[in-house]
Symmetry: C2
Subunit: 315 residues, 2 copies
């Protein structure tokens, strides 16, 4: 059995033909051209789907779509996705069905990362886990009893928007001191630049002092790998902040397996070891022996795999 997984982003639309057991068999990507507005983007999605060879449609479960923004509880429409101008409330499942004659279903892209991990990645075989995606922002998805935990309206798992310091900065969240403001790529880079500015003797100062916006978390990781103590310290600080957030999730949910994905997760041990240390110190004792933090290796494919899994399981 196959399904099509779509990852609808503000920059690109990605699509994968996914086999239920073997994973991705074909992958395509086109620019979203979101500025053209709703109708042209819908047409581009349909064209992308039709560009796959779907002759043997009996073996195709349908189309699963990962979208940013609020997904309706019935998983058929999306409201106000960021970066898609003109999309107020779009009945995307019906639009796809009417254009290509295949059933479609939507889910929040962060939740689909978690579902993709559960079915094809590091989450395979884990009945419950919390996925935290450290990318431009900080996203979350919760797998509980092998399924996406959706909450009352389908919006559970906004794990980037959890405060660990009520008097902290707002950054790009509505929440003061939200964890996204420490771990999100841009905020981590800005915090790093502030620290490095005070250390003109450091190698990172020399490289970036003429163009701070070029500094990205991967540069910190590279510097840490060759023993740059300041970079190690900056990543350690970010990791510790993550540790406090993990304790909040775990004490609320009693889910102790954490799977980390996204670009910033490539900082690996430099962030995750300090996170683990703080979590093990701060968790209530019964949770400690079960605490487990893993890195997802799938990358962005997790969302496409999750989108297809959604179609397999719900269409």
């Amino acid at each position: 059995m196959y399904a099509l997984g779509i990852d609808l982003g503000g920059t690109n639309i990605k699509a994968a033909l996914v086999h239920q057991r073997d994973g991705i068999s074909e992958l395509k990507s086109i620019p979203t051209q979101a500025k053209d507005g709703l109708e042209p983007t819908l047409e581009r999605i349909a064209e992308l789907i039709n560009s796959f060879n779907l002759r043997d449609r009996e073996t195709l479960a349908g189309v699963g779509i990962g979208a940013p923004g609020m997904i309706s509880l019935d998983r058929k429409s999306v409201r106000n996705p960021p970066n898609l101008p003109g999309w107020t409330e779009v009945h995307l499942a019906a639009e796809i069905q009417s254009r290509i004659g295949l059933p479609a279903i939507l889910e929040n892209d962060a939740n689909l990362m978690a579902l993709g991990s559960a079915r094809f990645g590091a989450g395979f075989g884990q009945e419950h886990f919390i996925m935290i995606t450290l990318g431009t922002g900080v996203g979350g998805g919760i797998i509980y009893n092998n399924r996406i935990f959706r909450g009352a309206s389908g919006a559970a798992g906004e794990l980037g928007h959890i405060t660990i310091d009520y008097a902290g900065a707002t950054c790009n969240s509505t929440v003061t001191g939200a964890i996204e403001g420490y771990l999100g790529q841009r905020f981590l880079s800005q915090r790093a630049a502030e620290v490095i500015r005070k250390h003109p003797e450091n190698a990172l100062f020399e490289t970036f002092s003429k163009d701070w916006p070029k500094l990205e978390p991967m540069h910190l990781t590279e510097a840490a790998e060759i023993g740059n103590e300041l970079a190690i310290e900056i990543l350690k600080d970010a990791g510790e902040k993550l540790g406090y957030a993990l304790v909040n999730y775990i004490h609320t949910l009693d889910i102790t397996t954490i799977i980390v994905s996204g670009g910033v997760s490539k900082a690996g041990k430099w962030i995750l070891k300090p996170a683990e240390k703080v979590a093990l110190e701060q968790l209530m004792p019964p949770f400690r022996p079960r605490f487990n933090i893993i890195t997802e290796q799938l990358g962005n494919e997790a969302a496409l795999l999750g989108a297809a899994a959604l179609a397999f399981e719900n269409l």
Copy 2:
């Protein structure tokens, strides 16, 4: 149909005969005498149960027991309940069954407060809600799809142990800046005493300056009711802290109905209005229209009703 609800505390054991529709028909309480150790306490529980007239046992579903400490996932045993010395791991369901011949089932007492509210109180008719109990400590229970949300091991909803300030004090938690350290009765009283100490002109200073430990949250509420600005300010500050914690729960769970119970909740609007104001400012916009904060009126009976409901539904 009837069930017996038991509330096993370090000081008293309470028991209620509960009708599935009409609620409590008979209520008894005896001292726990916990210092006597495990066996005598088990005997006292059995005696208390046998003191009810249970002739018509066909209509009795069984015994539901609320206990502090970690409850096993099968709800049959309890580990390390605080205030019950000598209770390491006790197969309480089997102990009750063997002593009185009735099936028994256990649950964490904070979770049973929530279940009691769902079946007999302010939570009736709410498919999903978060109960936060402001007592000596701060407890939590989560109702999701009309049932207790238990997490991976039955320990979900440790809502008092969520940080809102990673650099804050530890108080009685393992977590720095845990919300229990702001709202728990003793910590709220201590914080209040620190503030009032600096205001010798205030009426509360006069009343409590010779015996600060006598100051309790109810005195702050009473003072607030007659216009004591300092008391209003202290309760407002505590309420705002609660607001930040609520945002963390809501963004994690997507459950937007909050039910507040416990002694400190009697401070009512003096705490809840500031909590609501902060929550409405900090929540992501889609959650705001659904945000709703209610006070539970049942008091400690909620735990007994919840214990009986557990027996009705799971035995």
